[in-house]
């Protein structure tokens, strides 16, 4: 099966490493349904974040996946949908 599930903690770590964190935003707070835009991440930050998710989790994200996922919850679900277990049962 895939290495592991993509979690909110993975996302927060990748956001911090790749794009940094806005001082006005508490990434450790409940951000799961907050828009990336209001968290301070514009399109280039999302491109960098997507690139880091791809290489760490061995997935390929469509351009649409990144632009359509407006919130951490949506992005996490899209990434996990790609992390299909390779061995079943």
């Amino acid at each position: 099966m895939a290495s592991h599930e993509f979690t909110i903690d993975d996302l927060k770590r990748i956001l911090r490493e790749g794009a940094g964190a806005d001082e006005g935003v508490d990434l450790d707070g409940d951000i799961i349904d907050t828009d990336f835009e209001s968290l301070g991440y514009e399109s280039l930050a999302m491109l960098e974040t997507g690139g880091r998710i791809e290489r760490e989790f061995g997935v390929t994200l469509d351009d649409d996946t990144l632009t359509d996922a407006k919130t951490p919850r949506a992005l996490i679900e899209s990434v996990n949908a790609l992390l299909v277990p390779t061995e079943i049962g």
Binding site: R16, E17, G18, A19, G20, A21, D22, E23, G40, L44, A45, L47, E48, G51, E54, R55
Partner: protein, 408 residues
């Protein structure tokens, strides 16, 4: 509108220099002759012919800049953003309170963000293209300092970057003056360069102009019989430029002086019989300022420390002013040559020299009688400074000169 009669003032200084962070720290060190040149610490220089540099120490970008900016900026941009903040603070201008299209940013750059670029290129060839930061798309780029200063401060008026090596630091300020004369209220101008990393170092060595001496006190000796190249450094200065009357009308905290005249020329092709262009650049700057040579109280030299280039500069100065007739100084003997950042730092020093009535020294130099210059060495010299000439030459034949004048 024809604004050639519009006087353009400098009302704020932001300095990041190897011998001082902040204008006052830099100026105190410079007046005392304190050098920022030492053995390179940012990488191990053992295998390189040139091992000394003017490095800025004790600069922690995270202390000054938001976390969102750090992963997307090279060191030179981090230094530039902080210098811009300090220049605004010094000018007592809050950019957020001015109309965004009435403020511009025009800086110079000579190499771009080499350290960032080196890291990403290493990732590219060792791990593959997926490991290159999305921010590499602009973090290395010549115009990135202008761009990031513009974004951070909401400045959307006429902006750009000038790339003409060391001369660019003056060319950018001249371009800023043009934009103010056309009606822009305020322009942040000057330059900050920083590329003390292995890739940047190799690129600089390609000029064959770096001193290979290892004694910091004997390495960079412009106008000295022992001159054999320069020490490179990082840093520079940013200046807040405004139209003089508007600056007075808003009650500017201080007016350091005005950008009174500018001239630039290109040298003829190598092997040409025609003379070097530096003298002409100086004459153009004086004519633009409406100044006679006798009015200039000090010359801040380009100070290449390459014997032939020193001869050309000394000859140009002596032909314009008369042999030994004007005090000449090169405080960059304490910082190394900062490429595009060098001349804006000299402009800052010229304004502070006017303010305090002193000419800062060139250090370590025993002037060669061959050059016939009145070089201010070892210690600062008390002097009334009402006008100064700053000279900068760029690799490839760029010559630029600016006359600054007290606005009083």
């Amino acid at each position: 509108m024809n604004g050639s009669g519009v006087r353009v003032a400098v009302t704020g200084l932001g300095v990041v220099a190897p011998n001082g962070l902040g204008a006052e720290a830099y100026w105190t060190a410079t007046r005392k002759g304190t050098s920022g040149i030492g053995r390179i610490s940012r990488f191990v220089p053992d295998g390189y012919p040139a091992q000394l540099a003017g490095e800025i120490e004790g600069f922690a970008a995270a202390e000054y800049l938001p976390g969102r900016l750090l992963p997307q900026t090279d060191r030179m941009t981090q230094l530039a953003l902080v210098a811009a903040d300090w220049a605004f603070e010094d000018a007592a201008v809050r950019p957020g309170e001015l109309p965004e299209f009435e403020m511009g940013v025009i800086t110079a750059s000579s190499s771009g963000g080499f350290e960032f670029g080196q890291r990403e290129l290493q990732a590219l060839w060792s791990q593959g293209s997926r490991y290159v930061s999305a921010y590499q798309s602009f973090a290395w780029f010549y115009a990135v300092n202008s761009g990031q200063i513009s974004i951070r401060n909401g400045m959307r008026g006429p902006s750009g970057v000038v790339v003409s090596d060391q001369a660019g630091g003056l060319d950018a300020v001249a371009q800023a003056r043009r934009q103010i004369r056309k009606g822009t209220r305020l322009v942040m101008s000057g330059a900050v360069d920083a590329s003390i990393c292995p890739w940047g170092w190799v690129a600089q060595m390609a000029s064959n102009r770096l001193s290979t001496r290892t004694d910091p006190e004997r390495a960079y000796l412009p106008f000295d019989a022992a001159a054999n190249g320069h020490v490179a450094g990082e840093g520079g200065a940013l200046l807040v430029l405004e139209e003089l009357e508007q600056a007075r009308a808003r009650g500017a905290k201080q007016i350091y002086g005005e950008i009174a005249g500018y001239g630039s020329t290109l040298d003829p092709r190598p092997g040409s019989e025609r003379p070097a262009g530096l003298r002409k650049a100086i004459e153009l700057a004086l004519a633009d300022a409406g100044a006679t040579p006798g009015e200039i109280d000090v010359v801040f030299a380009d100070a290449a420390a390459i014997p032939e280039l020193d001869r050309i500069e000394a000859a140009a100065i002596n032909e314009v002013f008369g042999a030994g007739a004007v005090p000449v100084t090169a405080p960059k003997t304490m910082t190394g040559r900062l490429y595009s950042g060098a001349a804006p730092l000299d402009l800052a020093a010229a304004f502070l020299a006017m303010r305090d009535g002193v000419i800062p020294p060139s250090i370590g130099v025993t002037p060669s009688p061959e050059h016939g210059l009145d070089l201010v060495v070892d210690q600062e010299r008390t002097a009334t400074v009402r006008s100064a000439l700053v000279i900068a030459r760029g690799h490839g034949g760029f010559n630029s000169a600016i006359v600054v004048r007290s606005a009083a």
